[in-house]
């Protein structure tokens, strides 16, 4: 391509005789003005919603729901539907958690589980991404393991715990094995769904600009599949966390340290219902917290960048 200054080269074969130069410049100015007008008329602008409204619309309803649940719980306690060692009040659960807090162990317990969950999730990510790509792009592989991979999603990963204990004993390997078996199918399936939903036009456009082979995967295929991939990641995290709790609950031994699952098991052994409910609450909070702090913003960002969020 020739270097392109904004001025039209005089020898331009298509231009009329030299006398029309001035008129031509007017034409160009008129065209630029027309174009600017069209661009301005046709451009969509999006205003951000004010913070107060976001709070009112997004934060208030769940807060009200939580208060309602607590109120129901408290009234069930007050009516003594069950004896208080079976149905403690919200305050008793709070006290049990506070007691763990003052013992100074609770953060360690939460960290134990969260770090395991995070590590397991990251390993699952590394395993599931190439696996998902293979299933999505290679016909034979898809025919061979595609159905199994999506079938595995409906197998509760707690079913793997006995097998993992037989294989690995009461070790960290057992826990990670269960987490991986829970998370890998979700992430891989999410990626497959993401790749299946790519517009064929984008793949062709990638090919035309020379993004083929691995460069095509990196610059076109993966980014194009990102929305499906991210929802796979989200679900993969939920499955990691669930599987981790199942594994921790069953595989307890001193060498394994105390995670939230073991804390729950301790509560059961001592018939300590406030502790059991407190542990459940913590498990729930961590699960929700990571989803809200990590995956929800990630997903929103991906969708907003592509203009897929405006309608919602």
């Amino acid at each position: 391509m020739a270097s392109t200054e904004t001025e039209r080269p005089p020898e331009s074969g298509a231009s009329p005789a030299g006398g029309a130069q001035g008129a031509e410049r007017d034409d160009a100015a008129e065209l630029a003005g027309l174009e600017a007008g069209l661009d301005a008329l046709d451009t969509r602008t999006q205003a951000r919603t004010p913070l107060a409204r976001t709070l009112r619309e997004k934060a208030l309803p769940p807060a009200v729901a939580v208060v309602l649940v607590l109120a129901l719980w408290q009234s069930a306690f007050a009516l003594e539907l069950k004896p208080d060692y079976q149905l403690p009040s919200p305050l008793m659960v709070w006290d049990a958690l506070a007691e763990e807090w003052y013992k100074g162990t609770i953060l360690g317990v939460v960290w134990q589980s969260v770090s395991r969950g995070a590590l397991g999730f990251l390993v699952a990510l590394v395993v599931a991404t190439p696996l998902g790509l293979l299933v999505a792009r290679v016909k034979v592989v898809r025919a061979a393991i595609g159905p199994v991979l999506s079938g595995l999603q409906s197998l509760p990963s707690v079913a793997w715990v006995p097998a993992a204990i037989i294989w690995f004993g009461l070790t960290d390997a057992t826990i990670y094995a269960v987490v991986l078996l829970g998370a890998v199918p979700s992430i891989a399936n999410g990626l497959v769904a993401g790749v299946d939903r790519i517009q064929p036009l984008h793949l062709r456009a990638g090919k035309v600009i020379g993004a083929t082979g691995l460069r095509g995967v990196r610059h076109v295929l993966l980014p194009a599949a990102l929305p499906g991939y991210v929802s796979g990641l989200k679900q993969g995290w939920a499955f990691s966390w669930r599987s981790l709790m199942a594994a921790e609950l069953i595989a307890t031994s001193p060498e394994l340290g105390v995670g939230l699952g073991q804390l729950l098991e301790t509560g059961r052994v001592y018939q300590d219902m406030p502790l059991v409910l407190g542990a459940i609450l913590l498990i729930l909070l961590v699960g929700i917290g990571i989803e809200l702090l990590l995956f929800a913003p990630l997903e929103r960002r991906v969708l907003r960048n592509r203009g897929l969020l405006a309608a919602r």
Partner: protein, 276 residues
């Protein structure tokens, strides 16, 4: 195979516009050469022939429109030249390297900004990182979208998207630009403006254009040469040299006069299909 009316002498057809053209292309004397190209789809036995014996040269720097009714295989022909599909028979030579292709839909990547879309094409071409940004800005300026670098694709209007797509196609620095009805989905005023833009950009660069359309006036408005394809199978039926000087307008009397003539021919081609 039936004989077809092939393109005339490419050297005579070439109007040298830009001072320098790629060496390989000048040596070859054409930006693309199709020789006896046929394409069939379907299994052996139940084949449908889409293109039959297409022979066509596009001269360096030439602007050719391929015109035809639906089913004449004009998009297939572009896919063949772009190497997205292979011909059943015949040869295609594109000496200037991988051609750029613009689609009817903008085909920009929605996960990248306008500027980054262009930079990706530059990167695939091997342009160094340090130069990409500047080059992308320059191309945006060329299509009069200065300042749109950071805009997301969904924030742009249809006409702006096609201009970014044009800039991305130019970023490939290919000697041949294939365009598959790129303005068909735009409103009339925007299309007029983009015709003017394309003519201007084509005059400022030394790129050859092979432009597919079913719109006769658009074909005449833009091209130096209009090639009419018949349908099922697509064969070259006739071609016209358009000597009306640029800048033309779609409503110019001369454009209309030639359009009427070509439309008559096109209607004749279509009518033949209803006769048996």
């Amino acid at each position: 195979m039936p004989t077809t009316l092939s393109a005339q002498d490419p050297a005579a057809a070439a109007q040298p516009r830009a001072a320098h053209q790629q060496d390989r292309q000048r040596q070859a004397g054409y930006a693309a050469r199709l020789d006896g190209v046929s394409k069939s789809f379907g299994r052996p036995g139940a084949q449908q022939q889409v293109l039959d014996g297409i022979s066509l040269d596009v001269a360096p720097g030439e602007f050719v429109t391929l015109l035809g009714a639906s089913g004449c295989g004009k998009s297939t022909l572009l896919n063949l030249v772009a190497d997205l599909e292979s011909p059943t028979d015949g040869t295609i030579e594109v000496p200037g390297g991988r051609p750029a292709l613009m689609f009817q839909e903008h085909a920009l990547f929605p996960w990248l900004t306008a500027g980054r879309n262009i930079e990706l094409a530059l990167r695939m071409r091997g342009v160094a990182k340090a130069e990409r940004r500047q080059e992308a800005e320059r191309l945006l300026e060329l299509v009069r979208l200065t300042g749109a670098y950071g805009k997301r694709v969904h924030e742009l209007s249809g006409g702006m998207r096609q201009r970014v797509a044009l800039a991305r196609a130019l970023a490939q620095d290919s000697q041949l630009l294939l365009m598959d009805e790129p303005f068909a989905a735009l409103d009339a005023i925007t299309r007029d403006v983009l015709h003017e833009e394309l003519t201007r950009v084509w005059a400022e660069t030394d790129v050859s254009v092979l432009f597919v359309t079913h719109n006769v006036r658009e074909a005449v408005r833009l091209a130096e040469r209009v090639v009419l394809l018949s349908s099922r199978p697509g064969r070259i039926a006739r071609e016209w040299r358009v000597d009306i000087p640029q800048p033309r307008r779609i409503e110019d009397a001369e454009v209309s006069r030639l359009s009427v003539e070509i439309t008559e021919e096109l209607r004749g081609e279509i009518r033949r299909h209803g006769q048996h």
